[in-house]
Structure formats: structure tokens, C-alpha cells
């Protein structure tokens, strides 16, 4: 068996808050292989985001180990972590986090700016990614001129632009309606079908049902980790919802 893409061993994170410490993660050991589609579930405050931020090298653990494709990440310097975020990981946030007053294309090209890719090449690759998420004609629109779903798709294009090995999405559908959520999930499923590893945080069962594996957190610990027999197809559901809406609107 090959090396898992992600290995965590007794990963812990505590925050000093005033006089006492908050134990956000209390020893999480998981392995995630390349090509998986994992949903991290659990009630609010159970440590899901903390876990994701550690996987994404946005934060450093206070205990335990994290290996990305077999390489130890814990203990690396900030520049090395920046390089990992830049080249190997793509982030999708609940609040999209696009730069305001900046075109969709420039937003998508942002990671390339920090990997020293020349201007024309940046533009070429950003244009290609924009087309992949189905927004080829919106390249020069600013975030304020795009709908929530479109903004999230631009954010996914940005996550993909530097050909990462892993997509991390923290509540990517949290700010979207059901229809748009399904469309975004369909996009993630499609990427996973093409071989991309996706780890997604959600507290909604409906969303977790699109994943192939569900890891459930409670109080900073993994309490359940199971495979989903037959994940739902988001694209099919999205089409159904769209059809229902058409019928709804056609009704007098």
C-alpha cells in the first residue's frame, strides 16, 4: 500500500484564552489517501475548522504529527509552509474570500503571483480554470458583480489554478442556497472523479452524503469514521432541483 496523502498522529491544538486553555483538538489520528472525497462532520465547536486549518498549514499544531505525502509538515518554517499552501493545497472558504474590486481572472491568478509565474502565463492558466468552472464569460467581472454560487466557483478555480494535490473546503456551501450548494458539490465531485483529493467540512448531513467517506468529530476527537456505500450524485440532484423550479415557476 502506498503512502497516504494525509497522515495525522495524535494531532492536538489548544488555544490560550485569557486565564485558561481551550483544547480544540485532543489527539486526532487519521489517514486519507489520494483520490478520496472526505466530509468532516460534527457539531459546531467540535474542532472541524481547527483540523482543516492544520491540514492546510494555515496554523501549527500544539502537539502530534502531520505528514503530507509522507513529508513531515510540523516544524517547518513559515516560508516552507507558504510554499506548501501555494503549490500543493487549494483552499475553498465559506465566505469565498475573493479580493474585492479585482476581476475574477486576477483573483484566480493570485496563487500564481506567488509562485513566480509570468503575467501572460498567469492569465492563460486563469482563463483555462475559469472555463472549467463554467464562467468563461465572466473573467472581467468583479466579485460584487457575481452571484454567491459564481463567486464560490471562482474561488474553486483559484484553488485549482496551481495544480494542487489536495482541495480543502471549509463549509463551502454554508453561504449558499440548496440549489447552488448542489451545483458547487457537483463541481467538487467532478474534480474528485478526475482524481483530485477533496476534504470538506460541513455540519449538514445533506452535504456529507455527497462524500465517499465521513469522519465525525466531537469535542476535538474523532468519534466515527465510515465509508459511504453509494454517495449521492450532486449533478443529478442539481438537475432535479432545477427542473422542479421550472415547474414551480410555470405554475399559474
Amino acid at each position: 500500500m502506498s503512502t497516504p496523502l494525509i497522515t495525522t498522529r495524535e494531532l492536538a491544538k489548544s488555544y490560550a484564552l485569557g486565564g485558561f486553555t481551550v483544547q480544540a483538538l485532543r489527539g486526532v489520528s487519521v489517514e486519507i489517501n489520494a483520490g478520496e472525497f472526505v466530509a468532516v462532520m460534527g457539531p459546531s465547536g467540535s474542532g472541524k475548522s481547527t483540523f482543516m486549518n492544520l491540514l492546510g498549514c494555515l496554523d501549527t499544531p500544539s502537539g502530534g504529527e502531520y505528514l503530507l505525502a509522507g513529508d513531515r509538515v510540523s516544524g517547518l518554517g513559515s516560508d516552507a509552509l507558504a510554499a506548501i499552501r501555494n503549490r500543493r493545497i487549494g483552499f475553498v472558504f465559506q465566505s469565498f474570500n475573493l479580493l474585492p474590486r479585482t476581476s475574477a481572472l486576477e483573483n484566480i491568478a493570485l496563487p500564481l503571483l506567488y509562485s513566480g509565474v509570468a503575467g501572460e502565463e498567469r492569465n492563460r492558466r486563469a482563463t483555462a480554470r475559469l472555463a472549467e468552472v463554467g464562467l468563461a464569460d465572466r473573467g472581467h467581472h468583479h466579485p460584487a458583480q457575481l452571484s454567491g454560487g459564481q463567486q464560490q466557483r471562482v474561488a474553486i478555480a483559484r484553488a485549482l489554478v496551481n495544480d494542487p494535490v489536495l482541495i480543502l473546503a471549509d463549509e463551502p456551501t454554508g453561504a449558499l442556497d440548496t440549489q447552488t450548494s448542489c451545483e458547487v458539490m457537483a463541481l467538487l465531485q467532478q474534480l474528485n472523479a478526475q482524481g483530485m483529493t477533496v476534504v470538506l467540512v460541513t455540519h449538514e448531513h445533506d452535504i456529507a452524503e455527497f462524500a465517499k467517506r465521513v469522519i465525525t468529530f466531537r469535542d476535538g476527537r474523532v468519534i466515527e469514521d465510515h465509508m459511504v456505500e453509494r454517495p449521492k450524485d450532486a449533478a443529478v440532484l442539481a438537475a432535479q432541483l432545477r427542473a422542479e423550479q421550472v415547474v414551480e415557476e410555470a405554475r399559474p
Partner: protein
């Protein structure tokens, strides 16, 4: 990330808050404009003064008779008749550092000639006078040895005299009367303009010293051939103080002055004037530096303030940039470039304002203006330095944010 991309990001950020950026630049704009204007006006005045001093000659020593004492009251330099024409020639002969030594007699009087009359100053001079006082013959010719030997009634007119007597017609060859004595005008002198004291240096007539003594001032032969002053020019590269000491020594010998006795003559040179000018321009420079540093400091603090605000406002942006791979130094560069851009644009606007207000002052007040490339280069350099200095702290603060904390910042 390259610098060009940083500049583009900086310009966009500054454009978003146009008014704020403009107000921030104001301190630098005013500081730089003030510096440019003050340097332009100051160095204009400076170079005018320098021209005048150069016209007079910084290596000129004026030798005058000493002061006399009359009933215990000292009468001031030049009040005694202790200086002779021969003293002047001896200095020329015996002091090697002397390039030209010209004994001079001074007189004033009414001049009639051409179409009018004019009251002016005339000098009886030896031929060395032209060299000593940097007079150039504009038209006609200067004196010859024969003119001196024969007390020839020939004269050279200063520009002011020539114009007042003859207007536009050529005075060379014309006859004028100085104190009723007829003279032939053999030449005119090149214009010199005002002296340091504001006198018209061209309101003058030059004639041979013998002519002045024998025919105009009416000092008879046989008496000591006293003179009012001797103009002495020191050779380039010779030490003024040393030359002065040698002249003093020579004169004390010639006048048989005992070691304990005071000089019966006075030596003056323009280096005193020059050093006074240097002193005042040094003070001017200090004042300028003070004004410049205060306004640039204020401008710099303004930039620092706005950059701190900007870093706080854009904490989430910084977090996002870090999340997609920006390193600390990328963020540092970005905010530093933004601060420098802000300062440089302010500097350039300040230069534009400074140059135009200098030109306006020159036109309106009629002052001489001197705009050089140095103050402009200095202003650009200074603005950039201010951007770096005052931008560094906010930029470093931004670069040290932790990605997750910046991203979560509300």
C-alpha cells in the same frame, strides 16, 4: 512576486482611497515643494552674489592709507597721505605672488560732452588697473605706456557715462571735458552692473594716473606722489594671507615703521565679504534643512499612519494572500512598495508644485531663480527614503501576521 506586480497592486490600493491617498501625500507634497522653491530662490540669489564677487575678484586686495589721529580722534582709513604711487609699483616688482598692482587716484567732477553733461567719478590709474579690477575694453583701446609718460588727455568711459553723454552714438574719438579739461575718448569699458553694495560700477571714467594728478586734480610735481588706494590682484593659487603678509612687510620697510609701531596703511580683501556670505548661506542651508526635515517628517508620519490603517483594514486580504502562498516577505514588499509609491507620487507632485511656484515667484517678484537637477534628485531620493523608513514598520507588522489569525480577523 516581482516588483512590477507589487507596484500595480499598490497603485490599485491607492486608487481605491483616492482622497485619503491625496491627503496623506499632502505633507510630502508641501515639504518637497517648499524645499524645491527655497533652493531655487536661495541658489538664484546665491549665484547672483557669487557672480558679483567673481566680477570684483576674490583675489583682490585693496591697499589704503592708514587712519590718522587728530586730537585723539581717529579719522578712519584713508585719511592720511601715506601711500605713494611708488609703493604700488614696488609691490608689483617685489612681491612675487602679486599679479597686478595698480595705484589709483580718485576724483569726482562734472563731465561735459556729446549731447549732455554728467557728474561722475574718475580714476587715474596705471595700466595694471584693468587687470587688477577685471576691466575689459569694449570698444577702442586701453592706455599705453606713452599715455602715462606724457600725461595724455585720453579717457575710457564706463557704460553708464557713455550712454548718458552719447546715447547710442559711438563715443570713441569724441572729445569730452572733465572738470573743463578736454579729453579724447579712446575707448569704452564693458558693462559690470551693480556692485555688492548696490553701486553702479559702470558710472566711471578711467584716465592715466599721471593725467589725473597733473592736469585734473592739480597736484604739482615735486611733492610726494600720493595715491588714494592701490588695487592689488594676487595670482591664482597663491595664498591670500601669505601675499598679504608679504605686502605688509614690504610696506613697513618702505615706510620705516618700527616693530612696536602700528601700520600706517590698511589692507582689505573680499574674502571677508565672501566668508560672511558663506556664513549666511550656511544659516540659510540649515534653515532649509530644518523646514525640509520637519515637513518631511510630518509627511512621513502621515504615511506611516495611513499604512497602519491600511494594514488593519486589509488584514483579511493579507490572510487570504498568505493562504494562497504569499510569504512574509511578499507581504512586506507589497506594503513597502505601497508606502514608497505613496511617498514618491507625493514627491513628484511636490516637485511639480515646487518648480511651478519657483517660476511664478521668479516672474512675479523678479527674483533670480535657479532650478537645478540636484534638488529634484534629492527630493525624489528623500521621498523614497521616507516611504521606506515610515513604511517599514507597518509593512513588517503586516508580514508578521499569522495566516489563520489574519484570515479570521473581523
Amino acid at each position: 512576486m516581482n516588483v512590477l506586480a507589487s507596484i500595480r497592486i499598490a497603485l490599485r490600493a491607492l486608487r481605491i482611497n483616492k482622497l485619503r491617498s491625496a491627503l496623506t501625500m499632502l505633507g510630502i507634497i508641501i515639504g518637497v515643494a517648499a524645499v524645491i522653491t527655497m533652493i531655487a530662490v536661495g541658489s538664484g540669489a546665491q549665484s547672483q552674489i557669487e557672480d558679483q564677487i567673481k566680477g570684483l575678484g576674490t583675489n583682490l586686495i585693496i591697499l589704503m592709507p592708514g587712519s590718522s589721529t587728530s586730537g585723539g580722534v581717529r579719522m578712519g582709513a584713508g585719511s592720511r597721505n601715506t601711500l605713494t604711487e611708488e609703493d604700488g609699483y614696488a609691490i608689483q616688482r617685489d612681491v612675487s605672488a602679486v599679479q597686478a598692482s595698480a595705484p589709483t587716484l580718485r576724483g569726482t567732477g562734472q563731465v561735459v560732452g556729446g549731447s549732455g553733461n554728467w557728474s561722475t567719478v574718475f580714476y587715474g590709474v596705471s595700466p595694471e588697473y584693468f587687470e587688477a579690477r577685471n576691466w575689459v575694453v569694449a570698444q577702442g583701446k586701453g592706455f599705453e605706456a606713452a599715455d602715462i609718460a606724457g600725461s595724455a588727455k585720453v579717457a575710457l568711459l564706463g557704460d553708464t557715462v557713455a550712454r548718458n553723454l552719447f546715447g547710442d552714438t559711438d563715443p570713441v574719438g569724441q572729445v569730452i571735458r572733465i572738470r573743463k579739461v578736454p579729453f579724447t575718448v579712446i575707448g569704452t569699458l564693458e558693462k559690470k552692473g551693480q556692485s555688492l553694495m548696490g553701486q553702479d560700477q559702470d558710472d566711471v571714467i578711467l584716465m592715466p594716473i599721471s593725467t589725473a594728478r597733473n592736469r585734473v586734480l592739480g597736484q604739482g610735481a615735486g611733492r610726494l606722489r600720493t595715491v588714494g588706494s592701490v588695487s592689488i590682484k594676487i595670482r591664482d593659487g597663491e595664498s591670500m594671507t601669505e601675499a598679504e603678509a608679504q605686502i605688509r612687510e614690504l610696506l613697513r620697510q618702505r615706510h620705516r615703521i618700527q616693530p612696536a609701531q602700528e601700520d600706517d596703511f590698511t589692507l582689505r580683501n573680499l574674502s571677508e565679504v565672501l566668508s560672511a556670505r558663506e556664513e549666511s548661506s550656511k544659516i540659510m542651508g540649515l534653515l532649509l534643512a530644518a523646514v525640509a526635515s520637519v515637513s518631511l517628517l510630518v509627511g512621513g508620519i502621515g504615511i506611516m499612519n495611513i499604512m497602519l490603517v491600511s494594514v488593519t483594514e486589509r488584514t483579511r486580504e493579507i490572510g487570504l494572500r498568505m493562504a494562497v502562498g504569499a510569504r512574509g516577505r511578499d507581504i512586506l514588499t507589497q506594503f513597502l512598495v505601497e508606502a514608497i509609491t505613496l511617498a514618491l507620487i507625493g514627491g513628484l507632485l511636490g516637485i511639480a508644485l515646487g518648480v511651478s511656484s519657483s517660476v511664478a515667484i521668479g516672474k512675479l517678484a523678479g527674483w533670480p531663480i535657479q532650478l537645478g537637477i540636484e534638488p529634484v534628485a534629492l527630493a525624489v531620493g528623500f521621498s523614497a527614503a521616507i516611504g521606506i523608513f515610515f513604511g517599514f514598520y507597518p509593512a513588517r507588522k503586516a508580514s508578521r501576521l499569522l495566516p489563520i489569525e489574519a484570515l479570521r480577523y473581523e
